[in-house]
C-alpha cells in the first residue's frame, strides 16, 4: 500500500474523533432538550457537520428566532472556512474537481488544522478522506448517542474531556513552533488579536477568528519579506 493514504488519515484523525465525542454527545443531549427528535438531531449533524453553528442554532431555536435568520447566522459563523479551504488548497495534491468538492464537505476547524499542519509537501486526497471519515463518523454517531441516552458523561469526565480539542490544537502547534520563531509569532499574534476581540466584544467569534488569523498571517508575511530584503 502507498504511504500516507487512507489508513494514515484515520490515525491522524483519531484525536479529532476523541475530541468530538464529548462535544457531539452534549449536542445530542441539548438537541433533545430543545425539542428535536432523534432523527432531526442526527440529520443536522449528518448534513451540516459544523459544531459551533449547530450549537448556536439550538439556542436560536429556543429563542424563537426565524429559521431564515438562523441560516444567515450559520453562514456568518462559517465564513472563516473560506480562508481555511483557500489555505488548504495550497497543501492538497491536485485532483479532480468532483473529488475536491466531495471532501470539501468534511473541512472543519479541526480537520483543517490536522491536514494543514502535516509535515511534507503535498497531502493526498485519500489521507484527507481518512481524517474526515473518522471525524465525521464520531460527530454523527455521538450526536445520536447523546440524544438516545439523554444524559451526559459523569461530571468529572465531561469537564476533563472538554479540553480534548484544545489539547489537540496545542499538540499540532508545538512541534512546528519549536525553534521556529515565525510559527511562534504567527500563533502569538493571532492569539492576541483574538483575545482583544473577545474581551472587547468588538467581533463575534466566527469573525474574530477569521480577522485575527488573516491579520497575523499578513503582518508576518510583511515583516519576513522586509527581513529578507534587508
Amino acid at each position: 500500500m502507498q504511504e500516507h493514504g487512507f489508513s494514515s488519515g484515520l490515525k491522524a484523525g483519531a484525536s479529532i474523533a476523541i475530541g468530538y465525542f464529548p462535544v457531539a454527545l452534549t449536542f445530542g443531549l441539548l438537541a433533545k432538550t430543545t425539542g428535536l427528535s432523534l432523527i432531526e438531531a442526527t440529520a443536522m449533524s449528518i448534513f451540516v457537520f459544523a459544531g459551533a453553528a449547530q450549537y448556536i442554532s439550538l439556542s436560536l431555536i429556543t429563542a424563537g428566532v426565524l429559521p431564515a435568520l438562523i441560516v444567515i447566522n450559520t453562514f456568518i459563523v462559517n465564513i472563516r472556512h473560506f480562508l481555511m479551504t483557500a489555505a488548504l488548497n495550497e497543501k492538497m495534491e491536485p485532483d479532480a474537481r468532483w473529488k475536491k468538492a466531495l471532501y470539501a464537505f468534511g473541512i472543519t476547524d479541526e480537520t483543517f488544522t490536522v491536514l494543514a499542519t502535516q509535515p511534507g509537501n503535498k497531502i493526498r486526497t485519500s489521507f484527507a478522506a481518512g481524517v474526515i471519515v473518522i471525524s465525521y463518523g464520531s460527530w454523527v454517531a455521538f450526536t445520536s448517542l447523546g440524544h438516545l441516552i439523554g444524559a451526559s458523561l459523569p461530571a468529572f469526565l465531561q469537564a476533563s474531556m472538554s479540553i480534548a480539542l484544545y489539547a489537540m490544537f496545542v499538540g499540532l502547534l508545538v512541534p512546528s513552533m519549536k525553534g521556529n520563531r515565525k510559527v511562534l509569532s504567527l500563533a502569538l499574534i493571532a492569539a492576541l488579536f483574538n483575545s482583544l476581540f473577545f474581551f472587547t466584544g468588538w467581533l463575534s467569534t466566527g469573525w474574530a477568528i477569521m480577522v485575527s488569523t488573516l491579520a497575523s498571517a499578513i503582518i508576518i508575511e510583511l515583516v519576513s519579506r522586509k527581513g529578507v530584503a534587508a
Partner: protein, 102 residues
C-alpha cells in the same frame, strides 16, 4: 419540529458547504500570486493560535480547568509526544484535578 425545520437544515447545509467548497474547487489548478501563497501558508499556524486563545480558558466555569489544561497540554507537547498522547495525557491530568478539587 415542523417542516420549517427541514428547510432550515437544508439552508444551513448549503451555507456551510459554500465556504468549504468554493476555494477548493475554484482554485484547483490556479497559480496564485506569490505574496498570496505566502500569506495562505501562514494561515494554519495563525488559526491554531486563534482557536486556542482565549477559548481554552473558558472550557468550564472554573477557569482553573482551562489554565491547568493549557499548561499540561503545552508541557506534554514540548516533550515531543505525538498529538494523541497530548490529548489523552491532558484529559488524564484534568480528570485527576476534577476528582480531587472539582
Amino acid at each position: 419540529m415542523g417542516a420549517w425545520f427541514w428547510w432550515m437544515i437544508f439552508g444551513m447545509a448549503v451555507v456551510t458547504y459554500i465556504p468549504r467548497a468554493i476555494p477548493l474547487t475554484f482554485l484547483e489548478g490556479r497559480e496564485l500570486p506569490e505574496t498570496v501563497q505566502n500569506v495562505l501558508r501562514n494561515i494554519p499556524y495563525a488559526v491554531l493560535g486563534a482557536l486556542i486563545f482565549p477559548a481554552v480558558f473558558f472550557i468550564q466555569e472554573n477557569i482553573w480547568f482551562g489554565v491547568i489544561g493549557a499548561i499540561s497540554a503545552f508541557a506534554i507537547a514540548f516533550t515531543g509526544a505525538n498529538v494523541i498522547l497530548v490529548v489523552l495525557g491532558t484529559i488524564a491530568i484534568l480528570s485527576m484535578y476534577g476528582i480531587w478539587f472539582g
